[in-house]
Symmetry: D2
Subunit: 427 residues, 4 copies
Amino acid sequence: MPIPTQQALQLIRRLSRGLPFDVLAQRLAPRPPEKVAPRPEVPFPREWSRESWEQRLAFFEGQGAALPHLAGRVPYPDPAALQGNIEAYLGMTWTPTGVIGPLRVNGLHAHGDYYVPLATSEGALVASYHRGARLITAAGGASALTSAEQVQRAPGFAFESMAESVQFTAWVNGEVDHFHALVEQSSKHAQLLEVHTHLVANYCILIFAFYTGDASGQNMVTFCTEKICEDIIARTPVKPHHWFLEANMSGDKKANALTFLLTRGRKVEAEVILPRPLVEHGLRTTPERMCDYWRMSFVGGAQTGSVGVSGHIANGLAAVYLATGQDVACISEASVGVTRLELTDSGDLYCGITMPNVICGTVGGGTRLPTAQECLRLMGCEGEGKASMFAEVIATTCLAGEISIVGALCAGEFALAHARFARGKNP
Amino acid sequence: MPIPTQQALQLIRRLSRGLPFDVLAQRLAPRPPEKVAPRPEVPFPREWSRESWEQRLAFFEGQGAALPHLAGRVPYPDPAALQGNIEAYLGMTWTPTGVIGPLRVNGLHAHGDYYVPLATSEGALVASYHRGARLITAAGGASALTSAEQVQRAPGFAFESMAESVQFTAWVNGEVDHFHALVEQSSKHAQLLEVHTHLVANYCILIFAFYTGDASGQNMVTFCTEKICEDIIARTPVKPHHWFLEANMSGDKKANALTFLLTRGRKVEAEVILPRPLVEHGLRTTPERMCDYWRMSFVGGAQTGSVGVSGHIANGLAAVYLATGQDVACISEASVGVTRLELTDSGDLYCGITMPNVICGTVGGGTRLPTAQECLRLMGCEGEGKASMFAEVIATTCLAGEISIVGALCAGEFALAHARFARGKNP
Amino acid sequence: MPIPTQQALQLIRRLSRGLPFDVLAQRLAPRPPEKVAPRPEVPFPREWSRESWEQRLAFFEGQGAALPHLAGRVPYPDPAALQGNIEAYLGMTWTPTGVIGPLRVNGLHAHGDYYVPLATSEGALVASYHRGARLITAAGGASALTSAEQVQRAPGFAFESMAESVQFTAWVNGEVDHFHALVEQSSKHAQLLEVHTHLVANYCILIFAFYTGDASGQNMVTFCTEKICEDIIARTPVKPHHWFLEANMSGDKKANALTFLLTRGRKVEAEVILPRPLVEHGLRTTPERMCDYWRMSFVGGAQTGSVGVSGHIANGLAAVYLATGQDVACISEASVGVTRLELTDSGDLYCGITMPNVICGTVGGGTRLPTAQECLRLMGCEGEGKASMFAEVIATTCLAGEISIVGALCAGEFALAHARFARGKNP
Amino acid sequence: MPIPTQQALQLIRRLSRGLPFDVLAQRLAPRPPEKVAPRPEVPFPREWSRESWEQRLAFFEGQGAALPHLAGRVPYPDPAALQGNIEAYLGMTWTPTGVIGPLRVNGLHAHGDYYVPLATSEGALVASYHRGARLITAAGGASALTSAEQVQRAPGFAFESMAESVQFTAWVNGEVDHFHALVEQSSKHAQLLEVHTHLVANYCILIFAFYTGDASGQNMVTFCTEKICEDIIARTPVKPHHWFLEANMSGDKKANALTFLLTRGRKVEAEVILPRPLVEHGLRTTPERMCDYWRMSFVGGAQTGSVGVSGHIANGLAAVYLATGQDVACISEASVGVTRLELTDSGDLYCGITMPNVICGTVGGGTRLPTAQECLRLMGCEGEGKASMFAEVIATTCLAGEISIVGALCAGEFALAHARFARGKNP
C-alpha cells in the first residue's frame, strides 16, 4: 500500500468478516475444472453472423440475464431519465460489446465463474482476454483479494506564514473526531477513514480519505469534504489567506505515485499459477520465455518513468468500465498496476497482478444506465454489497489480459493476432 | 518535446505548409465575437425534455449533420460489419452523449467554431465544458497548434553479452535507410520518422517512431515494426538470445515520463487570454485568485509524482474519445499534460495547455462505427486529412474544461456544480 | 508529508514541547537587524591571502570555536581511531572549506545567528550562499521548522501464494506492540514509530519507521529491523519462501516519490519574506521577475519527472554534509525538495523551501571525525539534542542558496558569478 | 539512452575509434586470472595499525603513486592557490580514504587492473566494495563501455503568445549551424552536439547538449550557452517577454527522468558473469537466491517512484567522487542507474549495471586539488584523455558494490557487515 498499522487492523477486520485465516486460504485456493466443472463457454466467440449473435443472447437469457437494451430491442430511455448523467443530450454513443468467460475467480468477495462484458472498438481485445480467461479457468481459477478501499479529496489552505500553517495543522489534527461526526451526519454511505496532513511551508494540504461503500464515490467525497471545510473555515483559530476544495493531491483522474502507493478506489490483487503444459499448449511458448519477457518489459517500463509497471491493463479495464457505466476518465489512475511473472520451483508460471487504484461502483452514477445495468447483472455484480466482488472480477480480467499479451509476444504472435482480428478479415 | 533539430526542421516544414510565420501569427490570432459573429449556441443545453432533445437534433440536422444513429432512429449494423472491432459480440453499450459549443478555435489546422460531442455518464461534465467553451469563444477563441506527430513501437533484443548488444546497436544504426525503404514498401500510410537506440547492458531496446497519417496508428506501427524486426533477425551479424516486438518502452497505454517528453500521438498546445471582466462575470472570481489556485495545484500535483500537472484533462478527453470511436484505453497516456494560468501585465488571465500524447485518428479503428461517424461529422473532422484538426479541437476542449473547473474551485462552486447536475435534480 | 492523524498528534506533542502555538508564532517571527543586531560578518570573505585566512581563523577562535584540525595545525588521528569509519586506510582527502554567515534562523529548534561551514571545490558556491544568507539576515531571518523525524528499513517476504502473504500481513499487524518492545530492548536510542504494510500479490513488504534521536540512524534501523525480522521468522505462522532485510522500499540513497512524501530523516521547512528593496538592491532584480523565474523553472522541472522541484539544493547540502561528517551518499535522497517564490499582497517576495528527506546526525558516524567535530561546534550543533537544530540550519542554508541562484538568473549574472569565482581570477 | 540515429552514428564513430566491432568484442572479453595474473592485492585491507597504513602507502609508492598529501606529510597549499575552488576559506575538511583493488576492467577505454580510492566515513563501505572487486577480478573482470557523452544547459524564453513562441522555435532551429560556429569560437573544448526544443504554450525551452572533453563541464556549458543566448537575443525576430539562462530542464543536480533517459555526463555500462562457484564461496549464497533478491528489489524500487532502480550506487559513487575532486553535489543525478541480475542458461550469475548520468572530469574544477591529483594518479586517470576511462572504472566500481550488497542481503549478512565494520570493533 503502504498502510499503517491502525488502518491495516481496521481493514483486516472488515475484510476477513470474521473468517479465520485458514478459511481464507481455502477460499482463495484453486478449484481445478476436473473437480468443479466450469460454467459453459460463451457460444461461438469467433463468429460474426446474426445467428451466432442470437445464440449468445439466448445463452445469457437462458441463464437469467436478458440483454434487451444491449441488443437494441427496446428504445432509449426518456431524456428526462438521463438528468444527472448528461446535459445538452443528443443521443447515445454505441460501443460494440463482447463477452469473455467463464473466468474462474477464487476471491475473498468474488467466488465463482464469471462472464465479463467488454465494450470496445479495438479488434482482438475481446479474443485476447478470452484466451487469458480460458487459461486461468483451466488452471483452477485465480485467487483475488480486495484490501484497502478509500477515495480521497484534498483541500488546500494558504496562510500568511508558516507559523500560521503549522498552528492550523495542529488545530486540524485535534478536530478529527469532530470531522468524523460531521461526515456521519452528512452522508448515509461515507465514512471518514483518515486525515493526512501535508505541510509545504505556508501551505497546509489535507488529504481526507473516505470509505464510500458500493459507489465509486467521487461526488460523495466532494460533498463531505465541503462540509468539513465549511466547518473548518467557521471555526479555525487562524484564517487562511485563501483555500480551495481540491489542491491536486487527491489523485483524481491522474496516474501518480502518491495514490499508486496509498490506494485510490480499491486495491486488488490477483494471482494464478499456470502449469507448464498450459503455457506450452495454450500459449505456444514456455514459462522461461515468459519470464525473460517479464524481466525485459519490467526493466523497460521502469525506465520510462511510468507509474507502476505492467502490460496493457488499460485495455481490459477501459472495456469493463465502459460496459458497466463506470467513469472511464478514471482509466488515468485506475490503469496503474504491477504485473509479475515468475518461474516456480516446480517449473510452472506464477502470474500476479496488483491494482491499487480500482475505482469502481455498483450503484449510482453511470451504473443506473440501462445497458450498464444489464452488464452488471450479467456478471452478478449489480447493486448494494457488490463493489468489492466487482473489483476482484476486474482485476482477474486484467490478469487474464496480461497473461494473454505476454504469451502472444513470446510466441511471436502479437502482430498476427491484430492482423487476424483487428483488420476485419479472418485470414 | 524536447525534439532535436533535424526532426524539428522536418516538423516545421510539414506544419507550416509553406506559410511564412507572420501569416501563422494571423491564423492563431483571436477573432473577437464582435468582429466575427460566432455560430449559434446549442439550443436549451440545460433542459432534459424530449422537445429540447428534438430541437437539438433538428438544429444539427439543419446544419447538415443528421444524427439518426446517435438518436436511436435506425437499427444496429449487422454483426458481420463489426468484425475487426469486436469479438463474441453481444450488442451495443449505450453512453449518453451531449454537445458543447460553439468553441472558437484559431488553430493551425482547426480554424472555426466547433460543436464538440461528449459521451459520458458523469453529470455536470458537459455543462462545465460548455461554460469553458463559452468563455473561450467570448474571448475570441483559443490559439491551437499541433507540433510533433508520431507513434512508437519498441522491440527489445537480449544478447549473451554487452559486446554483442553494442555490435548490434552499431549495425542497426547503419541500417536505418534500409528500414525506411521497408516501411515504404509495407505500408501506404506509415512513415518511419526516427529510430532511437536504448542500450541497457546486454539489452538493446529500439524505439521506432512513425508518422501514421490520419489513423491513430497503433496497429500500423505494430505491423511495420514486425516487418523491420523480421529483416533484422534475418540479417543481423549477431543473433539475440531472445527478442520481443515490444519491450514496454513505447508508452502504449501508460502515463510515463518518456512519451510525455517525446510525444506519443500528437503534441498539441492551446492558449487563450481571458480578459478580466470575463473572469469576473463568467466565473465569479478574479484572475489573481485563479493564479493562486494554479500555483497551489501545480505544487500539489508535482508533489504527487504525477506525469505532467493539470486539472481534469481526462474528463473531457475521455468524453470526446468515446463519442468519436477513439481507443478509450489510451486515456492512460493521452490525459497527461501541463496547464498553466498566469496574470498578464495588463491584469488579464493567460491560460495555456500542452498535451503531448493526443493519440487520435479520423479514419480506421472505431471511427468506422456509425455513431462515431456522426460525431466526427458534427465536428467537421471525419475522414482523411483531418486528424491534426481534430487534435487541436480536442486540446481546446480540454483547455475549456481546465478553465471551468479552476473557476468553480475559486468561486467555491465546485461541489455546488456537482450537486446541481450530477444528482439528477435541478436545485 | 502526508502524515496520518495519530502520527501527526504525536509529532505535534514532541515538537511543540509544551509551547502553546501563539508562542510558536513568536519564536518563528522575524527579528529585524535594526532591533536585534546580528553577529559580526565573517571577515574578508572574498580574499584569498594567507592573512585573510588567519583573520578568519582568529575570528572564530575568538568566538570559542578553534579550528586547528581544519587549519592543518595538528596531525592526523592514529589510523586505529578510524576503525568504524574506513577500511584499507590510505589517508585523508582534503576538501577546501569556507564559511558563510551570520545566517539568522528563527526556528523551532535553531534560534540565532549561525555561521555555516561549506566544504566544496566548486568556486562561487560559498560566495553565492553567503549572499543569500546576508539577504535572509537583513530580512530579519528565516522561520524554520522540523516536523516529521523518521528513518526506514523495509524488509520483504515472498510466499508461495497470496493467501499466505495475506495471512502473514494480518499476523504481523497484530504483533506491532511486540515489535515496539523488542526495539526498546535492543536499542537505547531507536523508537519504532510506525509499521507500514505493502502487499504485492505473494510479496509482503514491511516498512519500519524509527525515530533515531540525534544520529542519522541508518545502521541503527538496520540492527533493529534485523532483530524484528529474526523474531518474525521464529514465530510467524506462515513461513516465507525467501525474505530479505531490505526490499528497496526504504528510500535509502535514492531520490524517490515514496520517501519524498513520507519523510526520510527530517522534514524541514524554512521561509522568509524579502522586502522589495532588498531584492532590488541586494539581487539587482525585482520580486516580479523572480516569480516569473519560479513559474518557468517549476514548470520546467516538473516536466523532467524530477522528484520534487527546486533550484540547486544539492550544492549547499552536499557542502554542509561533507563539512560536518554526514553521509554524503545521502545527497541522493536528501537533496529533493520544493522551493516556492510568490509575490505577497504588499509586493514583497515570499520564499519558502520544504525539504522532506534531511537525513542528518550530530552524533555517531562521520561526526566523530576531527574536522567534522570542529565544523559542528562552529555551528553550535555538536552532540546530543542538536540534530533538529542542525536540520533547521541546513534547510535555511539551502533556502539562502535558492534565493541567491534565482536572483543571479534573474539579474543575468549567473554565468558572470561563475566566471568571477570559479575560474580562479577576480575580474 | 534513447538516442536518435544521427547522434548514435556520431557516437559510434567517436567511440569505436576506428576499431571493427569484432575487435571491440575481444577488448570487452573476460581475462581470467589464471591466464592473465592480476596486479597484487592492496595489503592488509582489514587492519588499522599505523604499520599496515604505512605498508599500503609504501605499496603504492612502489607502484609509482606516491601519496604525500593524502598521507598528511606535506602542508596545505597556499590559500591563494585555492581561488577558483573556494571562498571565505577556513581550511580543509578531512575525509578518511581507503582503497580497493585490483579491480579488473575490460572496457572500451579502461583496460587493466585498477586500484580505486574511496573517501568516506561510513564503516564497511570500503570492505564491501573491495569484496565485490575481488569477485569481479576473479571472474576475469567486467566489460565496460562509455556510450553517450554530453552535458546540458536549458535556457527558457517566455513570449506574449504561442504564435511568437512557435515563430521563435522555427527561427532558432534554423540557426543551429550558427550556434555551432559560435561555440567553436568561444571554447577550446566544448562542442555543441544537439539542440532540443521544448515548446510549452508561450514558453520555448531549449536544451543545448555539449561534449565537454575531459572536464565535467558544467561551467563550460554555462558560458557557451550564455554566448548563444546573447546572440539569440540580439538577432531573434521575436523578442521574449523574459528569458533565463536555465529553466530547470538541464537536470543539473537533480535525479530526473529526462536526463536519466537522455544521458547527462557519460552513459556507462558494465557487466560481468560470476560463475556459480564464485557466488557460492565468495558470497555464501546462490545465483538463484540473488535473482530472487533482484526481482523483489526491482519491484520494490519501481513502486517507490525512484528514477532508475538499483541497490546502493550512491555509496561507491560518492566515495570516488569525493576522493577525486568531483562535484559531490552531482550525486543527486549521477547515482541513478539500473542494476540487473539474471541467471544464465548455464546457471551462472549475469550482473549488469547502466549508469546514464556519470558526470565526471579528469581536468579542471576540484581535480586540481592535491589529494584529488594523487587519487586520480593512483587510478591512472589523471589529466587529458582520461575521462571516459575514469567513467568506466567508476561504473565497474559501482557494479562491484551492487554485487556485494546483494550478496550480503542474500546471505543474511547485511546487518552483520555493518556491525563488524561500522561500529569500530572487530568482532
